[in-house]
Symmetry: C2
Subunit: 453 residues, 2 copies
């Protein structure tokens, strides 16, 4: 045991890992609180203390509920990267470009490790940053960018590393999940629940990124790269948000044995001609009530990773919030503290070196097989149902169940909702094309896939 | 990009990591299948190929569904540790002592990294092995020892490393979960379902380790050490199995809004006098039907980690089987391949160096507050209910609901099941002491805690 205690002593006398923190919103303040509250155990687990040496944000005077006096202050956010007393730059500024990106580039250029929670920046510039980090032999980590406090990037990149990943999917946006599960619980409409979510801080003043699925698409594109060794391709994520979902859709789904969840899904998918492609979609799905994801309520996130040996792994937890996000940020810092002697971290951002990430073209969608929920708002007059069902027949879409129901808000309009048998997506697209422009339709139809096994 | 591709080239020309595999049961064969099937992607992710160089098992001739001809063979299992062509020894022999332990000690002594799926060995000898690994500066990894293919050790040790862990609990034994959820689905009795599970390969011929909770206790003691920085204390896990649970208990629980699951739970728990202690219990619990763990059916495992910043993280997936277990074994190997240049792995077995693990005395149980389900099998005659309820009253146990119901198998015996209000466990113990030896009781009472938030 003599050697052990010597090595232990050697560990504890390692110099502190020095952190520069840029961005002092709720997550930034959360990181300060965490590093202070858990300092002793973090030092024990990291093998060295974690010290925040300098902080930077737009407004020095703002009350954030944390005492900034122990830390140096820099007005110039991008300047902190050049400081000699910094080993790791933590970027919590946000935004895909602008000061966040400038800071990130500077940090790496100056040989600092970079930890970020910035999903937009990684989705847009992750490969450039990872390549720079490899060149500079520094770590680039972004666990907090996907699914808040849940260590799903680690789970995918390391925990499931032995597997060919067959599919990765899940609930990646807590705001949407809060809205959908609250609509479900209360029977209220989207607009009303969104307003409440904004009042409670679960949704931003401008909720577009969340409710239109863009935030989930950012996260999905990051997961795809790691899961499939693919170059990040955010632009190709087929993205549909939740703003068109009616209380009536949720009621109808429930009656059929489903709930509605915004699902991000990625899969390596060979098209009809066998060309390998990358399927990436964010779309509200009907989730069977006995599916794992049907029990994910409120602002929770959950990610399923399906590996060819591991089977189906589920990672679930708080998808946002200062505490969980700070937990993920500091986990990355601890990993860096533990492994900093080595350069292997530098090649780990997307599990393999950036130069090895394949350019995978977007998979064609039409040949995908699945069941779909299709909802129409139609004029309440004879013949409309015949018109819709004829279009389905002509496109080769077989209907499993159909319901025409009550009034859906507008006077004179009724809802027709159907679930198809398994069918190629191209057939559904064709059926809707046949109906396009029909005066019977009071609104564009809404299509949601049914989550399959 | 020039530098990047150079570094990439440097990575791919790293020598293979050479594996010795001891034990060729279903998991050992699974590791061979995985390493062969996913060789290319593993080499890419690990930065170097993973080569199995030598294998060893008791019986060379046995048909295992894998071709062993590419690998050297050693009859002497413990001898493989001394070979020059081995970097990592993978121990899949099983058993807490005997050849597995001898091999593990030899491997570390010869400076080889050790990967094992052996929960019993780690629960009994994990600290000795980790201390030896620290001295030898080699990695000791055992992801596959807890919850099969689910990367929960990584999740706890790394993903949640920034947190003070408040509680870790979950479903740690797939055999028990299969039996309980099948009893639930079919209404059949324990003995019958166990026999079926044995026929299907979900339970061993001698199922004692599984059904009496010992396997779950092994796993729990490993999780406790990592979560709380505590010395492993398997002997202090309060362990109750599932063999006494009746179909009638499951029906009764269901009527009250619960299912029954074997839960392992650990918590740092200061006793009434403030002395820090470690609470560790494996016991069937009543799980509210709206709890995350109530949806975990079949041979699935699920672990909840509650951190002071992360909140509640859930890790779920296949708890056993050759594929999932092999996935966890090879994930450990890939981690070693990625980080072998450094010695930090050697201090990571339990998240901190062994010398830092605290000796935490078992927490006293009596002061714990909770609600309990208590079931009696009693003689069907007047006054029995009065006797039981008087004992509860005298011990200060307040009853929330009580049901006396039908016959429970034996002629003349009936079942009385109750759920208490929140009460100290000592009070329940005292009530049962008051009833101890009463001729009214046809069998020892069964107590199950109700899983609280």
């Amino acid at each position: 045991m003599a050697d052990t205690s010597t090595s232990n002593l050697a560990k504890t006398t390692k110099p502190p890992l020095r952190i520069a923190l840029a961005g002092l919103g709720t997550v930034g303040a959360g990181v300060i609180k965490l590093v202070e509250a858990n300092a002793a155990l973090i030092a024990r687990r990291a093998g060295r203390p974690i010290h925040i040496t300098v902080v930077s944000a737009r407004d020095r005077g703002k009350d954030r509920g944390v005492d900034l006096s122990p830390y140096a202050w820099e007005d110039d956010m991008t300047g902190i990267a050049a400081r000699d007393d910094v080993d790791v730059v933590v970027e919590l500024v946000g935004g895909s470009d602008g000061p966040a990106l400038t800071l990130a580039r500077n940090a790496i250029r100056h040989g600092k490790a970079l930890v970020t929670a910035n999903k937009a920046m990684i989705a847009h510039h992750g490969m450039e940053l990872a390549a720079a980090a490899e060149t500079a032999r520094v770590a680039l980590r972004f666990e907090a960018a996907v699914a808040g406090g849940i260590p799903v990037i680690k789970g995918l990149r390391e925990g499931a590393a032995a597997n060919q990943i067959e599919r990765v999917y899940g609930i990646l946006n807590g705001t949407c999940n809060y809205i959908l599960s609250t609509m479900e619980d209360t029977g209220r409409d989207f607009v009303e629940v969104l307003a409440e979510a904004q009042a409670m801080g679960y949704a931003e003043a401008d909720p577009t990124f969340d409710i239109e699925g863009i935030d989930a698409a950012h996260k999905l594109s990051i997961l795809s790269a790691i899961a499939f060794g693919a170059q990040i391709d955010f632009a190709s994520v087929e993205t549909t948000g939740i703003s068109r979902i009616l209380a009536a859709d949720i009621a109808q789904a429930d009656a059929l044995g489903y709930c509605i969840r915004l699902i991000g899904m990625a899969e390596a998918d060979a098209g009809p001609d066998g060309t390998p492609g990358l399927f990436q979609r964010v779309q509200p799905h009907l989730v069977p009530l006995d599916n794992l994801l049907a029990h994910v309520d409120g602002p929770t996130n959950a990610v399923v990773v399906e590996g060819n040996f591991s089977g189906r792994l589920l990672f679930q937890g708080p998808g946002a919030g200062d505490g969980p996000t700070a937990s993920a940020v500091v986990a990355d810092i601890i990993d860096i503290a533990r492994g900093m002697d080595t350069g292997f971290e530098a090649d780990m951002a997307f599990s393999i070196p950036v130069s090895g990430l394949e350019a995978m073209p977007p998979a064609p969608l039409g040949h995908r097989l699945g069941r779909a929920y299709i909802r129409f708002i139609v004029a309440d007059r004879p013949g409309v149902l015949a018109e819709i069902t004829a279009a389905m027949r002509d496109a080769g879409v077989s209907i499993e169940s159909l319901i025409q129901k009550g009034r859906a808000g507008d006077a004179g309009a009724v809802m027709v909702a159907m679930v198809t048998h398994e069918v190629r997506e191209a057939a559904v697209t064709e059926a809707l094309r046949l109906l396009d422009g029909s005066p019977s339709l009071a609104a564009a139809p809404l299509v949601m896939q049914i989550l399959g096994d």
